[in-house]
Symmetry: C2
Subunit: 339 residues, 2 copies
């Protein structure tokens, strides 16, 4: 039997990108006529069917939810999965997880594989590279074909779908306000590059909180980390350069590295420098000192996402289409790294 042709193989055969193949098969005007025809002819020749979703929707209910996450080593994503599993199992659904590894191509390929009859709907957090490219055609396409999609955490406005997010700006403001209330005068932020929506929003919350309290915003107090391999040395240099009495980190890894940097500088947490992180994972709980943190309630986000998706899956086909955005409130958990 001839093996099933995949997007990846078509891309390789024709020496074009996966995105080009995907868009060509969907008649995207972004792709030139020549390429489009070439891809479509090749797909036809090998009997590739891009519209299997509709087929799968008509023919069966798999009672399975497909989850695509950017990475698995972040505690946050594992708690979201627990939340999804919890509600899904209660309602008789199974859960399948795939990793995009923050890669656009892997996100497209995983969605293609899952949509091909394995699942009834998607819960997804957008890959870093997808945000960087701003290319969401694969997500929009899935929605257009009638397969329900719920975005969580790293969500994008361009995609018409249900969404579960936290108020990142408000969460960050909560953290910075807490530091100010505890006497901090010179607060640094350790964030990610701006194309990661959560990094950008948390930096915005930091800025707003400072301004509302009459503090100056100094660009030298804002560290935006791009390369995750170098976080120890980048944070260490950042902490050494300024005379911070408090640090706000947008995830728990950055927060832990910040505590070490403070210690290496010969200062103490929280006496000399207070530290607040984001995401309430094992690291924050077990760390010495244990880390004060903004909790994202990942498990609740997962529960809400699963509820929204199952609602869509089980609604009558005559009901009007509408999209909800659920904002899950963040919480402040005070521990040993603040006064």
């Amino acid at each position: 039997m001839r093996p099933k042709l995949t997007l990846k193989q078509i891309a390789k055969e024709l020496d074009v990108s996966i995105s080009t193949v995907s868009k060509s098969l969907r008649d995207s005007p972004e792709i030139g006529e020549d390429t489009r025809q070439k891809v479509q002819a090749f797909a036809k020749l090998y009997n590739y069917k891009p519209n299997n979703i509709a087929l799968s929707l008509k023919n069966r209910k798999t009672k399975t939810i497909g989850v695509v996450i950017p990475e698995i080593v972040h505690h946050f994503f594992t708690t979201v999965i627990s939340g999804i599993e919890h509600v899904a199992n209660e309602k008789g659904y199974s859960v399948i997880v795939c990793l995009s590894d923050n890669s656009f191509d892997k996100e497209v390929l995983n969605m293609e594989m899952l949509a091909n009859g394995s699942i009834d709907g998607f819960i997804l957090s957008v890959a870093k590279e997808t945000m960087q490219k701003g290319d969401y055609h694969h997500l929009i396409e899935v929605v257009n074909q009638g397969m329900p999609l719920v975005l969580f955490d790293r969500s994008v406005e361009e995609v018409p779908s249900d969404k579960v997010i936290i108020d990142d700006v408000k969460g960050a403001k909560k953290a910075v306000q807490c530091l100010i209330d505890k006497g901090a005068k010179n607060i640094g932020i350790i964030s990610t590059v701006d194309y990661i929506s959560v990094g950008k929003l948390r930096t915005q919350g930091y800025t707003e909180a400072l301004q509302e309290n009459g503090f100056n915003v100094n660009q030298k107090s804002i560290l935006k980390i791009e390369n995750m391999d170098n976080i120890e040395s980048e944070i260490s240099a950042f902490v050494k350069e300024s005379d911070f009495d408090a640090l706000f980190a947008v995830n728990e890894h950055f927060a832990a590295a910040a505590v070490r940097a403070v210690r290496d500088k010969g200062q103490k947490v929280p006496d000399d420098v207070q530290v607040i992180g984001f995401t309430d994972g094992e690291l924050s709980k077990r760390f010495i000192p244990s880390l004060t943190t903004i909790s994202q309630h990942g498990s609740r986000m997962g529960e809400e996402a699963a509820r929204l998706l199952i609602e869509k899956l089980e609604k009558s086909p005559n009901e009007e289409e509408s999209y909800k955005t659920i904002i899950v409130e963040t919480g402040l958990i005070e521990r040993e790294s603040t006064k």
Copy 2:
């Protein structure tokens, strides 16, 4: 259209366990004649097909690997998944992950769902409850039906399959020998209950290392944790009760909790009490003091497992069936928690 019937629904309808349904459909002699007939009649009535695996094997290659792991919050499992993804993607395979949550029923249900046409073969680490029950019929069945299965880490002898394991006994001996070489005289172990194979084997390695060095083995120096909700208080009580100068913990969470317990007792790590963990995760790296640990090379285990599985999937059908066990060597990573 009538929705697809699942094992779970049959079990619910007939008020028997999932295991009973699964075994009845496979004509297991463990199940009484009455129940077997009842289950089979019901399944037939609703057109349930337990042998979809064979069908799926004949009809298509999905080029997808199904991974079933007991839990996702342990860094070890996430590194294994990275390793699997790495080799799988290189060879043109996709990866789907499901969680058993350490539940026997969920393991059986997940395998049923995946084997139903979504994947070509399994990579699996056995659930805690499955080990406790000693019921491996679902695993043996998959192998008998001709779907390749690779077990990793929590592997069981009863299942004829390829296996990727670490030498837990040897790894534990390495840890304890390191502590003895660094002058420790009174070494405690923080382990799990015995039905978890790795906990049992690591405790055995601890015992052997002590004996080989002429030390007595004191049962009061062995803590076996069953309830994961209480690890802080159990470890704290254990550390307070004895006058340890070193502790060996069978995972990094136990190791981090051990450091805190030592500190709460008014002692210092590593000056008064040295600590070694197992599994080289983010927690071990970021912790203050950073944790000396036995590295399981999870990523290499995942790579080996993927290689074994793909080898099986791509071998000629005429080749003779044979099973390999690959033992991945553990390594000792010395950091700040030992002298």
